[in-house]
């Protein structure tokens, strides 16, 4: 592991970074357009976003070599907002999302992502893949068999062209080929131009045209919170993947802040909030990108291409884009989780599946993540709430040894595990292998003791560990009246 200087993170790998940046820019264009269409806005919103986010994050991000731009996870969250309130509210929500993320970064909350269980993360990734896939189905509606054939050709080229060469991204080859075929054969199918206009101009600074009122805030805040969480989750996951594949470390709090700054700037330049992209970052690393320069070049070259060849871009058939998006969905999905689903604990598998189902039903990754976290907390609590009581009887005395954690969830069943009418004179309750965590546990132990005493037995409690003794002492005065 090594930490490099800021200068190094820019110019430590110039040749590799420039080349990989160019490759990523080519791969970003179709995705930026497709994600805009998912969100229900003009392709320019995603293209401007990809440009401003990539360029901004190259300066302020915490993870050199990671690619951030307009993403599917974020686009999916915008669908409803755009449909009900329009583009200006999307821009305002993007700015607010950025502000929330900056706050998240300043308060150094990135470490709490470790509290998100593995199965929820896997569910998040799989749900994202499924949503990207299903979002493409509408492009098949009312289309002829040509659509299906062209999507098939696109996918075949994407997966088979690497056999020939890896020098050019196969997605680009597929798009160029399918576009040329469509134009030259004069196929009557929808193209990018039918979904919205492409303007060959640079983005300009503008303040979203919305009333600056409390009502506006009420509308955009729920979206921005969800966007902020989903954006950070995917960004920090991607950062971990880049960390691991390059054997370097990165500052997750600076990255969170950087994502926020990038989204604020994007909102003011007519783009939608985005985040880090797992797929594109992997492409970047594989193409030799390591430094900030790679992300910067990707953003600049993307804008350059749009300005120069924008009028060709509108002629790309939707079939080609749908093919690319299906590929994105396939590579986003964690197939390993399906292969190992029978090996992981059943509760983990359930959490993963519930996370996915919640997201697919609500179209909201944030809700899915919360559902997953809550469910796995419940599973965890129920797992550790099993307290074993071992009973030993010798010479008129019974010894109960408790094994497990004593807290609100575990004490209710505990009371029934003792034989209060046993024919003994003395009862010992040994807590040497258990731990008292809260007032419910203190009350429960007191209740057990008093129940035995009411039948005229002598009761002693032994083996209380230090923490538990302290808690019992603290609570004894206040709860003593129970």
């Amino acid at each position: 592991m090594n930490t490099s200087t800021y200068r190094d993170s820019w110019f430590g790998n110039v040749k590799g970074d420039i080349l990989s940046g160019l490759v990523v820019a080519l791969a970003l264009i179709p995705e930026a357009i497709a994600f805009s269409i998912i969100a229900g806005v003009d392709p320019m919103v995603g293209l401007y976003a990809s440009f401003t986010i990539a360029v901004t994050i190259s300066f302020v991000g915490g993870r050199p070599g990671m690619i951030s731009a307009a993403t599917g996870a974020m686009a999916l969250l915008f669908i409803e907002l755009v449909a009900e309130h329009g583009l200006q509210y999307l821009l305002a929500a993007s700015i607010l999302t950025g502000i929330i993320q900056v706050i998240f970064g300043l308060f150094k909350l990135a470490r709490y992502t470790k509290f998100i269980p593995r199965s929820v993360m896997v569910g998040f990734v799989n749900a994202l893949a499924i949503l990207i896939f299903t979002s493409q189905l509408e492009h098949f509606v009312d289309e002829s068999w040509i659509m299906y054939v062209l999507v098939g050709v696109t996918l075949a080229l994407i997966y088979l062209f690497p056999y020939v060469t890896n020098a050019v991204p196969s997605t680009l080859v597929a798009i160029v080929f399918v576009t040329i075929v469509t134009i030259s054969m004069n196929f009557d199918i929808r193209a990018v131009g039918d979904m919205g206009a492409i303007s060959q101009t640079l983005p300009i600074f503008l303040i979203p045209d919305i009333p600056l009122s409390f009502e506006t805030l009420v509308i955009i805040f729920p979206y921005s919170i969800a966007l902020a969480i989903v954006g950070l989750l995917e960004s920090l996951l991607t950062a971990s993947i880049v960390d691991d594949s390059t054997e370097t470390t990165s500052d997750k709090n600076i990255e969170s802040r950087g994502q926020g700054i990038a989204n604020v700037i994007t909102g003011f330049f007519g783009g939608m909030a985005g985040c880090a992209m797992i797929g594109q970052s992997i492409i970047n690393i594989k193409s030799g990108g390591r430094g900030r320069l790679s992300t910067f070049v990707a953003g600049i070259f993307l804008m350059f291409l749009i300005v120069v060849v924008g009028d060709i871009v509108v002629q790309i058939p939707m079939a080609a884009l749908a093919g690319v998006m299906i590929m994105v969905a396939i590579s986003t999905f964690d197939w390993n989780s399906i292969r190992t689903i029978h090996l992981v604990p059943r509760t983990d598998a359930a959490v993963m599946v519930i996370t996915v189902i919640t997201v697919v039903l609500t179209h909201n990754l944030a809700i899915g993540v919360f559902a997953g976290i809550i469910l796995s907390s419940i599973f965890f609590v129920s797992k550790i709430s099993r307290v074993r009581v071992v009973e030993e009887i010798k010479a008129g005395k019974v010894l109960y040894s408790l094994h497990g954690e004593l807290f609100f969830a575990s004490v209710t069943e505990l009371l029934d595990q003792f034989d209060y009418d046993a024919d003994v004179e003395e009862v010992e309750i040994n807590l040497g292998r258990s731990h008292i965590w809260d007032d419910s546990a203190v009350v429960a132990v007191e209740k057990i003791v008093s129940k035995f005493r009411s039948t005229g037995k002598k009761v002693i409690v032994t083996g209380l560990n230090e923490d538990s003794t302290e808690l019992v002492g603290k609570l004894a005065n206040k709860l003593g009246s129970h």
Binding site: R118, Y159, S240, I241, T246, I278
Partner: protein, 139 residues
């Protein structure tokens, strides 16, 4: 006759069998040394990071994956060393083998990902073609 032995592994069934062969070959000559490499490319990083999201260090879990190899080597009393390399598996293994002048490379015939193998060709083929030393592909 083989002193420096390189075993490439990914924790799969095939690579476990490769490990058994590697250990047997190492036992044949005195003073031989076995080096076990596990290669992480960007795609594997994704699945490994997801699989080990809550663990302290992904690399610890990787060592778990090759623990079977370690066990076999330990039981046979073979000197071994573990290394995690970064990059695309085929070229990285070839480069490592050639630069460090290994006497033999041992590798399982098939990795974990069938689709990848179909698209990009198998790692073992690349190694067999480009390594400067004998290569044993274990089925």
């Amino acid at each position: 006759m083989y002193q420096k032995i390189l075993l490439a592994t990914d924790g799969s069934e095939h690579s476990k069998r490769a490990a058994e062969n590697a250990v047997n070959i190492a036992k044949c000559s005195q003073g031989s040394k076995l080096e076990v490499v596990y290669v992480v490319d960007a795609d594997r990083a994704k699945s490994d990071v997801l699989t080990h999201w809550n663990s302290v260090d992904v690399n610890d879990s990787r060592k778990d994956q090759v623990s079977e190899v370690e066990r076999i080597a330990k039981e046979a009393g073979v000197t071994y060393e573990l290394k995690v390399l970064r990059g695309e598996p085929g070229p990285v293994i070839v480069k490592y083998a050639n630069e460090n002048e290994f006497d033999i490379v041992i590798i399982g015939s098939r990795g974990l990902n069938g689709l990848q193998e179909f698209v990009l060709g198998s790692v073992s083929h690349k190694v067999a073609k480009l390594a400067n030393c004998p290569v044993l592909i274990v089925k």
